[in-house]
């Protein structure tokens, strides 16, 4: 070992055993050099602590969503919206579950290692890299399962040459931003029980304030800007060219009440006979367009940037919060 005798011969020989103080000199591993240590630990946890189970879980959830609401995605506005919302929700769900317990379950261990020279930033960065891997895999699995389950994705991408890659990037960013948000929660709370109590509130907040599930007004509408779900939903709808799709809500509603009036029934029959149905659906879609879901690169980049910013902000906050871990009570 690279140690060096520094001071200091035992004075007086009061003890039969001589002093043998070796002060370690030389630098110990810095922040960057410690990252691989914790990255290795995380990947071993992936195997030994059954973290790998999140991957088949994400496949299962994606399959359920694809079966229930997937068939009308990229076909009608309603199908596109429902499926985008559902996919956003499962990405958030995946992300939250990935890391909500990852820090708090080993908090006393972190405290011990911090005392022994561990850098908190190295620990968090190792988690960021590891969670990036997990989220990337989950997004890949989700996209793959949706494809296999029969969702007809467009061929050509809008940002990249491949539409599936565009979708994967969005899903990855939703999952990753959620993941790092829950990493932050896990850094604040002290027990896994508290973490699992807080998580449902976070999920409900994301769902309610996504701006998709409910119509919001006033200050509540402003809160949507603080949710990952809003940007995820917007990106998925924009990528699917929501505004160019036809809307079936109006037609389906009128069709359901056709028996209430013979004139209405006759009018519907005439529209179908004249081949005007598609035209009606397209006109209906035009009336339902949302400026927020405009298929523009700026819009999609804006959503991606916001989700990346969420991840970055919560990563920094996690480091700051964990730096105070020495204050934990014994």
């Amino acid at each position: 070992m690279n140690t060096e005798n520094t001071t200091n011969a035992s004075s007086g020989g009061t003890s039969p055993r001589s002093s043998r103080f070796k002060l370690m000199t030389g630098n110990h591993r810095g922040r960057i050099a410690q990252v691989p240590i914790y990255l290795g630990k995380n990947f071993r946890m992936f195997i030994f602590q059954n973290d790998w189970k999140v991957l088949p879980m994400s496949a299962l959830i994606a399959a359920l969503i694809a079966m229930v609401v997937g068939q009308n995605m990229y076909v009608t506005m309603e199908g596109q919206f429902q499926c985008s919302l559902a996919l956003t929700c499962i990405c958030i769900w995946n992300g939250f579950f990935n890391s909500v317990q990852s820090v708090c379950r080993e908090r006393p261990i972190i405290k011990r290692e911090h005392r022994s020279g561990m850098h908190i930033s190295s620990y968090v960065v190792a988690h960021l890299i590891y969670q990036m891997f997990l989220c990337a895999m989950q997004a890949l699995i989700t996209v793959g399962v949706c494809k296999i389950a029969g969702i007809k994705f467009p061929e050509k991408g809008f940002i990249t040459p491949w539409f599936l890659v565009d979708t994967w990037i969005t899903m990855f960013l939703i999952t990753y931003a959620s993941d790092i948000t829950s990493l932050f929660i896990s850094s604040i709370v002290h027990t896994t029980t508290t973490a699992m109590t807080v998580m449902p509130f976070m999920l409900i907040f994301q769902l309610v304030f996504s701006g998709g599930a409910f119509t919001l007004y006033g200050p509540a509408a402003e809160l949507t800007k603080l949710t990952i779900s809003k940007y995820g939903l917007t990106a998925l709808c924009a990528q699917g060219n929501y505004n160019s799709l036809k809307s079936v809500t109006l037609w389906n509603t009128i069709f359901r009440i056709r028996d209430s009036s013979p004139e209405l029934k006759e009018a519907l029959w005439q529209i179908e006979k004249a081949g005007q149905l598609e035209n009606i659906l397209e006109r209906s879609g035009e009336a339902m367009q949302e400026a927020a879901y405009a298929m523009t690169k700026a819009n999609i980049y804006n959503c991606w940037a916001h989700m990346a910013a969420f991840a970055a902000i919560f990563a920094v906050l996690s480091i700051i919060v964990l730096e105070f871990i020495d204050n934990d009570r014994r």
């Binding site: 070992m1 003890s15 055993r17 110990h28 006393p108 261990i109």
Partner: protein, 446 residues
């Protein structure tokens, strides 16, 4: 449109509040708390919590009570904006309900302490002026135990020790020199002394038993000595100041916590290897690290299980791994907090023998254990920390095991512990006596 009637601010309410505060100040005095705290909104509920031995509840109640004030102020300022004010009113009600719940919890316990019917607590919550006056002015209601707070110097202990001991105990150049004047914590509105006047010199190669009852400050002492939680002190390790050089010296100081804080789903070898990567200098080659890890595995009898997951280890093996993680950097000062807890006698003794062999290499090993008598023959010295009558940790003895037996007139370590423990902990409550006796002895010897 004025939608809120701020009756709380009217003159009658203020007078009632002042009268209640006057009664409360009398109650505080009974608990050894300065009466003027009763007139500080927010702080008074905290101190009430302290009186009821519900400090945490007192803190929460104080925070929520303080939160109600800006909310109330905002309601007053914005009372024409009905659309916004309803949210503030909801917020105020929420804060107030939380505060009331915590206040009820505090008052119920306070009733128990003052030996009155717990139904009084409801009266306290909704009309505090009555119990404040009755309990404050009637001598019938006295607390079963006054709050133990540090108010200046103790006439017997502190006066003698502070003036004579600190200047008379010399530090040696080799080994560990401890000069702790005090270790305090500022806990919310109160300052507490955790340790006071602990002076000693521990020689290299000594294995030291740290003995003390619950709350006597053993862990605080260890944290202060290792530099983890700095005290008002000077800690010298072979003449080098631990506090000044902590970033360098922390790798030469090993601390093994009471609990086995190890990731259970990692292998023994990787756990130790990663510990080596963290604790050894970056310039150490990988072959040297591997060699060191193998040597430590061998030394602690873990070679046969190095490929096993930590969760598969027995209690003794896991404890040895926890120690090995610290020992990997070959620390000069090695401190262990109850390394033998949960281990049977044979395994515990085997573990202590290993620690003895580490001390024989010229290291200083300090061990806290709650079952000292089964291993006491392996130790050179004994440190006895005692909680004095003011619940501050003090040094009641430091010296060899034989000297300790003579000093306390006891053959067993548990006997010593029984003498210094407080009476409410099943002891004889003679800690002050021995603290003073030891201080006098130190001054005589210096």
């Amino acid at each position: 449109m004025n939608v809120i009637d701020f009756s709380i601010l009217d003159g009658v309410s203020v007078v009632i509040w002042l009268v209640a505060s006057f009664g409360l100040s009398k109650i505080f005095k009974k608990f050894n708390i300065e009466g003027w705290w009763a007139y500080i909104p927010g702080a008074r509920i905290y101190w009430l919590g302290r009186c009821a031995d519900r400090e945490q509840d007192g803190k929460v109640a104080m925070i929520f009570e303080i939160l109600t004030y800006p909310t109330l102020f905002a309601i007053q300022v914005l009372n024409n904006d009905l659309s916004f004010i309803k949210y503030l009113v909801l917020l105020f009600i929420f804060f107030d309900i939380v505060c009331l719940i915590y206040k009820a919890r505090i008052c119920i316990d306070l009733c128990g302490d003052l030996k009155v019917n717990k139904n009084w607590a409801w009266l306290w919550v909704f009309a505090e002026v009555i119990p404040c006056l009755v309990w404050g002015f009637s001598d019938k209601y006295t607390p079963s135990k006054a709050l133990l707070r540090y108010n200046g110097l103790d006439p017997i202990l502190d006066d003698f020790i502070v003036r004579s001991l600190a200047d008379n105990v010399n530090t040696t150049e080799s080994g560990l020199a401890v000069k702790i004047k005090d270790r305090t914590v500022r806990n919310f509105l109160d300052k507490r002394y955790l340790l006071r006047e602990i002076f000693m010199n521990i020689e290299p190669g000594h294995m030291v038993l740290l003995l003390g009852g619950s709350g006597s400050g053993k862990t605080t002492f260890i944290n202060a000595v290792t530099g983890y939680e700095k005290a008002n002190a000077e800690i010298l390790l072979d003449g080098m100041n631990v506090y000044d050089e902590y970033d360098k010296m922390k790798y030469s100081i090993g601390f093994v916590p009471q609990l086995d804080l190890i990731r259970s789903n990692d292998t023994v070898y990787r756990t130790l290897y990663d510990a080596a990567l963290l604790r050894l200098p970056a310039s150490t080659s990988f072959s040297e690290i591997t060699k060191r890890v193998s040597a430590v595995l061998e030394q602690f009898g873990l070679s046969s299980v190095k490929g096993s997951l930590v969760e598969k280890l027995s209690g003794g093996q896991r404890k040895r791994l926890s120690i090995a993680m610290e020992y990997i950097s070959d620390p000069y000062l090695f401190v262990l907090d109850e390394p033998d807890s949960g281990l049977d006698g044979v395994i515990a003794r085997d573990l202590m023998r290993r620690l003895r062999s580490i001390a024989d290499e010229g290291k200083i090993v300090i061990v806290i254990t709650h079952t000292p008598d089964r291993v006491v023959d392996l130790f050179d010295d004994l440190i006895v920390l005692a909680k004095d009558s003011r619940r501050t940790g003090r040094l009641a003895f430091y010296g060899s095991i034989d000297e300790a037996r003579e000093f306390f007139g006891q053959d067993s370590m548990e006997g010593i512990l029984r003498m210094i423990n407080q009476k409410d902990e099943g002891g004889e409550g003679r800690s002050d006596e021995f603290v003073l006796k030891y201080a006098e002895r130190q001054v005589e010897n210096s």
